[in-house]
Point group: C2
Chain length 276, copies 2
């Protein structure tokens, strides 16, 4: 048995593994681990992206909060998310049309082979897969999407664009007027100032910007943030959507969690709101 | 620079450290690390117990949920918690008398020296420190405490007793009829079946048993559970206690978090409640 370690300057998280396969694409190193505790694991450039045993938390929280808050989301754009987990959750809604823009076709190919339980919806008829840089793709889009999901890796390398002011401007233009932009926004414990800078940028474009949280044991610090931005819709669970939520077959999200995830601890409020 | 690793069979968490001091008591190995990301760290038998930078989450959540739920808690027992963090939070309430039963005097001695910001309330006049096994100490106590806080290390070695059926029976006897027992109860992601067994044991003694959660980045999986048991009181924040909470100067807990922390994800409900 070997160990895999994800290491940054101050912290490392290690998993005992049965096997480790290494691939290389034009964009990144891709690894597939078979870990004891979290099942199979997708690693990009040394960073854990997806594990079989905890991916449900991340993918449910990334997708269902905006989808349930929108009165009638049918045209959905996912940027990143080549593992297919976000598309799988989005495919639970009736009559949706999903476009996935993933820069690296090799991630999709490997996900289809190695993670069938995560990636299976990528083969659905109503899913269009485009291999492009998401920040480039949305420049040609106007008033088109109800919900945009930014399922990116960390804000370095080819994902840095997906956290830029220009990208958020383009995203606003690509959204319909009542659309919702929702993004993974890193760890509030490790990177609260990064979330604050995203918040400030988004607030210059959208009147509604909300942050919510979920535990992801295989991401650094174990707590992760998501940021919701919209011109019109607050995060909200209407009575009809409450009924829908009960049939989405979610393993993490439920009505109590929908509300609870928006509770901000004082130390986070203090930074985000300049509260005393 | 070196690294410290906390390792179990399948998972390890590592911190980059400037220094590492090793002590030994009759009960355990005690180490003090100086870590880059989390400040100074108390380690017992290789397991991280307390870090300067995230201890506020654990200690606030362990103590204030039961204290605020009790109408008038004045006589408080803490078992374990030799670092003094629980006592520091409890000392924020007016007119409390606190007894700390810590099996290992060396932990207290080292905490006083190495962690003054955590341990300072151990010197307060209204705090009595007793070096004994908590499971032994409470056998002689009847109808005495308003709130009992079990701030134990993991349920192995000398802490195993603090999770036994006999201990919970003795704890019930040591509590006043309207008392509240509150304990750290491990990770719901790594040990949900352990929490379920604690739950079932407590339910045979107390009609009210509730679980709540908080992120602790330096504990395995990053998500931690607490279990609240009582004959009479549900977790509750009355209007007067709401006012009190605002002056406790908490860095994690606030009114929204007080409610949100009790939201149970579906995968936890399924195990704890046998829900489908």
């Amino acid at each position: 048995m070997k160990w895999f370690s994800e290491k940054n300057d101050t912290f490392a998280l290690s998993l005992k593994i049965r096997s480790r396969k290494k691939y290389k694409s034009s964009f990144q190193k891709i690894e597939i681990l078979d870990s004891i505790q979290y099942g199979k694991v997708l690693v990009l450039d040394g960073i854990i992206q997806t594990t079989e045993n905890d991916e449900f938390i991340y993918h449910e929280m990334l997708t269902h909060i905006p989808m349930l808050s929108h009165p009638n989301a049918t045209n959905i754009l996912v940027i990143g998310g080549g593992d297919g987990g976000a598309v799988r959750e989005l495919s639970k809604y009736p009559s949706v049309k999903i476009t996935l823009v993933e820069i690296d076709p090799k991630v999709i190919k490997i996900a289809k082979k190695e993670f069938p339980n995560i990636s299976h919806a990528l083969n659905n008829k109503n899913v269009t897969i485009i291999n492009d840089d998401g920040s480039n793709f949305i420049k040609q889009k106007y008033n088109e999407y109800d919900v945009m999901i930014i399922d990116s890796s960390d804000p370095i390398s080819h994902s840095a664009n997906l956290f830029s002011t220009q990208f958020y401007k383009d995203a606003k233009n690509a959204l319909k007027k009542n659309g919702i932009l929702n993004l993974q926004s890193e760890s509030p414990i490790a990177n609260i100032n990064f979330i604050k800078s995203i918040r400030n940028t988004l607030l210059s474009l959208f009147p509604i910007v909300k942050h919510y949280f979920a535990p992801i044991p295989t991401y650094p610090t174990g707590l992760w943030s998501f940021t919701f931005a919209s011109l019109q819709h607050e995060p909200n669970l209407s009575p009809e959507k409450r009924d829908l939520l009960t049939i989405l077959n979610t393993k993490y999200l439920n009505e109590e969690i929908f509300h609870a995830c928006f509770a901000l601890p004082n130390f986070i409020k203090k930074v985000l709101y300049n509260a005393s």
